[in-house]
Amino acid sequence: MKSTTTIILVFIICLTVDAQDFATRVSPLTTSVSTIQLGKTEILDPYLSPYEYSGTQIGLQQYTRRFFTRKDSILSYSNRTQLQIGSALHPSENNSMLFFNTNYTFGVNYHFRPSHKLMILVGGSWDIDLGGKYISRNVNNPFSLDLYTNINATAEAQYKFSLWKQNFKVQYGVQTPLVGCMFVPTLGVSYYELFSLNNMKDAFHFSSLHNRLAWSHYLHLHIPLNHITLCAGVQQDYLQYSANDLVFHKKNLTFQFGTVFDLYIFKGKRKKTPGNFRSSYE
């Protein structure tokens, strides 16, 4: 009985010590940016049609970033999850295409701080993308699968400024794929032949700058408003890739609106983040 009491006491003391340390030590703070997206898109998928379809898309994006360790303030990692759906029309506007796209990106960033207002992030990311396009009236080629994974180069600049006694942040970021792997069907091959007969020859391709050109860049403004921070921005994506003598492209221009919040619950909405928590946005 004595030994049990001793063990419990030691455990409680350890917890208390750890709690005290937790209250004083520097800890990385996860910052999350959640946005909804609305924009225009232009799609060329010659497997489905020789003509560029244009239309609108809506989407959701969840982006989180934090430093790796509590002692670290120069190396952060990020996770980005995106979901987009939309529809587009043939140039003659008498046929439509439905499409969806999901993407997950894991990134690592090195933080430079040339001045106390300016922060520059340089790094890389790995992403995997799954999507599809669908033209219902097509026969045996109604669907085109988008499947790829890439290693990307990324960069971001973040500038803090004050206006009307509020601290604003403006961010400009850019991402471009360097190497990867992508699925591209041959023009005359049906998905029946590809998947039912397992004839996947020439379906997967190494991708790099020679056959896949893409960049995505965005401009975000973080606006403090009472006790929340809003995020408004615009993003442009350009993608062109080629394989099996087919050239595809997708161009997006999306407007984004959402919130920025730190993933740590403090007592009360008005309570400020304790000073020992370090955000990768600071």
Partner: protein, 336 residues
């Protein structure tokens, strides 16, 4: 400075070199739409050489007529006329007001099917059962199971087939009537065939266009029919065909040629061995065309159809008396 300049130059060279040229598209004019259609067939239709069609001369015949066209309806008819040269039931032009078609693959031949007859009391009658798109009933005093399959567009499950074959378990043989079945989904045709095979069997080949040349086709890919793991019919099965057995039905009949205890009875199938694909014109009209040719296990083209094991036409004299002589012959083959 040199350290920066060299990799930067290399990167620029790679990016510059890798700019991808997108193919030029035709304008949305009468000439542009005509040329777009002609080019799609020229580069992607898979039977131009097999059918010995001089597509350049077709261009020379039809292109001068484009200038004389006054309405979109006349233009559609001109394009449809050009496509009829291909003599292919899988080639259709779809517009907002019409769909072109080529039907001579069956309309020039005896019908060999009368739905009024198969629904009389001698065959399906009115008390037949329906499952998975099949209409079925025991005929010939309960000695023969008869299934009518009017389309492969409707899917079916193993459970449904097991139930049907359970009902036919006391029968000496089975008739699968695929007359007037214009096709549907290839996987449905494959699934139905799988119940009649004992082992994995080479039943056909499929190929696809690999380039713009008329004979730029891939090395044919062998297509096997595997037996269903749980359900197998091992007694005689008669497949009834006519000229309207087309497309996926043609594929089903091609597979069933190699099934043990199977006989094809009736008329030659209509064909449709090319898997159709779709493309579009600048004005939004859709073109469907044969893109992937298929062959039987002997590498013979099945675009024009498959010959039956027993060739027989419906005898119109008996037809008027309510007899389908193709079904009667199949019953006779089972009971003999």
């Amino acid at each position: 400075m040199k350290k920066i300049f060299f990799p930067f130059t290399v990167l620029l060279l790679i990016v510059f070199h890798s700019c991808m040229d997108e193919p030029a598209i035709q304008p949305n004019t009468a000439k542009g739409n005509f040329k777009a259609l002609w080019e799609i067939i020229d580069t992607r239709y898979c039977y131009l050489d097999y059918k010995k069609i001089n597509w350049d001369s077709v261009y020379n015949v039809y292109e001068p007529r484009v200038n004389k066209i006054k309405t979109k309806y006349e233009f559609f008819d001109l394009m449809a006329g050009m496509l009829a040269v291909l003599k292919d039931g899988h080639v259709n032009l779809y517009s907002e007001f019409d769909q072109s078609r080529y039907w001579k693959w069956y309309s020039d031949y005896p019908a060999n099917f009368n739905s009024d007859v198969i629904f009389n009391e001698r065959y399906l009658g009115s008390d037949y059962r329906i499952a998975g798109g099949f209409r079925y009933k025991k005929i010939a005093n309960g000695n023969v199971g008869y299934m009518y399959c009017g389309s492969f567009s409707t899917g079916f499950s193993n459970t449904q087939i097991k139930s049907i074959l359970d009902i036919f378990s006391g029968c000496k043989g089975l008739i699968i009537d695929v007359r007037n079945n214009g096709g549907g989904t290839l996987t449905n045709a494959e699934q139905l065939a799988s119940y009649f095979f004992k082992e994995k069997t080479l039943t056909s080949y499929i190929s696809h266009k690999t380039g713009n040349g008329h004979s730029d086709l891939s090395k044919p890919k062998a297509v096997y029919t595997s037996p269903n793991e749980n359900i197998q019919w091992q007694r005689p099965v008669m497949i009834l065909t006519n000229r309207m057995s087309y497309s996926a039905t043609n594929d089903f009949v091609c597979r069933m040629q190699y099934a043990p205890n199977s006989f094809i009875i009736g008329d030659q199938t209509g064909g449709g061995g090319g898997l159709p694909f779709s493309s579009e014109l600048p004005n939004g009209w859709m073109i469907r065309f044969s893109a992937s040719p298929s062959f039987n296990a002997e590498m013979e083209n099945i675009e024009w159809g498959i010959q039956p094991d027993i060739k027989i036409d419906i005898d119109t004299t008996y037809e008027k008396m309510g007899y389908d002589t193709i079904i009667e012959r199949a019953v006779m083959e089972i009971l003999k």
